[in-house]
């Protein structure tokens, strides 16, 4: 059994383990703010529909706003190619064995698209509900996505990311008639870990079902 009490000769440190990432994230945040750029960090499990939602969102917004995307994946540039198909500037980050983006990677990626002077930057994190949660990237807000095929208990299984997110985008609601998904229970579970969480019900299949998300984005661009 380890001795938990302080021992003689210990050197007190009291520093956050991720302080280096925090420092780089703060530098990113200052850089984004100076450029008048708003930044969202999109986090979800693999297959929740982040890229599909993003592609539809870009198509709807690109005539009104200068947009950019940073794509995080362990391998391949498949998602970046899908984003590039919309004409919006995109940088792919391959994290290799790492399961999340960090502030250093995002800072380097932003340098590659800064010249396009984006007003709204989407960072699509690696598909994973656990690892990205602790790593601040310098974003204005975290957006957590979950699809109705994932089960209503997901916010209780992965509480930290739902706790830290400003908004939750529930995706694939067009599938609800086919599923035994308890929508009310899911919303209650999400509010259990984050009472202030805004929850938007969306589907990227029918453009009209993106409306709650687009409305939220419009408000986010105006007043944060």
């Amino acid at each position: 059994m380890s001795e938990l009490n302080p021992q003689p000769g210990e050197i007190p440190v009291e520093e956050r383990i991720l302080s280096e990432n925090d420092r780089l994230a703060a530098a990113n945040r200052a850089c984004f703010a100076a450029a008048g750029l708003r930044v969202l960090n999109l986090v979800s499990s693999p297959g929740s529909g982040k890229t599909t939602l993003l592609v539809e969102t870009l198509l709807q917004l690109k005539t009104d706003l200068r947009l950019a995307v940073i794509e995080g994946d362990q391998q391949t540039d498949h998602d970046a190619q899908r984003i590039a198909g919309t004409g919006v500037p995109v940088v792919q980050i391959n994290t290799g064995q790492s399961c999340h983006l960090d502030a250093a990677l995002v800072g380097q990626a932003y340098d590659q698209i800064a010249s396009t002077r984006p007003q709204l930057l989407f960072i699509e994190n690696v598909g994973n509900l656990i690892c990205p949660a602790e790593f601040d990237l310098g974003e204005d807000a975290k957006v957590v996505l979950m699809s109705v095929t994932e089960g209503e208990e997901k916010p209780l299984k992965y509480p930290l990311i739902f706790h830290l997110a400003k908004v939750m985008v529930l995706t694939k609601i067009d599938l609800l008639p086919c599923l035994p998904f308890d929508l009310e229970k899911c919303l209650a579970n999400a509010r259990q870990v984050n009472p202030a969480l805004e929850i938007l019900q969306t589907s990227a299949i029918h453009p009209s079902d993106l409306h709650p998300w687009l409305t939220w984005l419009s408000r986010f661009m105006k007043d944060g």
């Binding site: 210990e10 440190v13 009291e14 383990i17 916010p155 209780l156």
Partner: protein
């Protein structure tokens, strides 16, 4: 497993503090991990053990203080223990709270030797 990244950061910090204090070896690394963090103590200890090889902390004992989640209700102002997936106020059932403790991810202290 992001604990490997966290362990790598932890080792860098511990080595930096050791060098500042002219330690030749690190014998003990004390960290605090809150309940509302994405860090699993066993995974962190495993990663630390692997990554410490060849560093000043190669033979260090990693001591993990697990910090339980504690909240303060903004409505009735009571303080209460909670679990990460059950954070509603037990007194007034409000869900608006401040986190008093449980978000720690902190290097608390190190100990070592100035001799080889």
């Amino acid at each position: 497993m992001h604990e490997s990244g966290i362990a790598a950061n932890l080792l860098q910090m511990a080595e930096r503090v050791a060098l500042q204090n002219e330690l030749k070896t690190i014998t003990r690394v004390v960290v605090a991990i809150g309940a509302l963090t994405g860090v699993e103590a066993h995974a962190l200890a495993f990663a630390f053990g692997v990554l410490a090889k060849g560093t000043l902390a190669e033979h260090a004992e990693l001591v993990i203080q697990e910090v339980p989640l504690r909240l303060r209700c903004r409505q009735c102002e009571c303080e209460y223990p909670a679990r990460p997936n059950a954070m509603t106020c037990p007194n007034c059932l409000s869900g608006i709270f401040d986190v008093l403790q449980g978000r720690e991810l902190t290097l608390k202290a190190i100990k070592g030797n100035r001799d080889e």
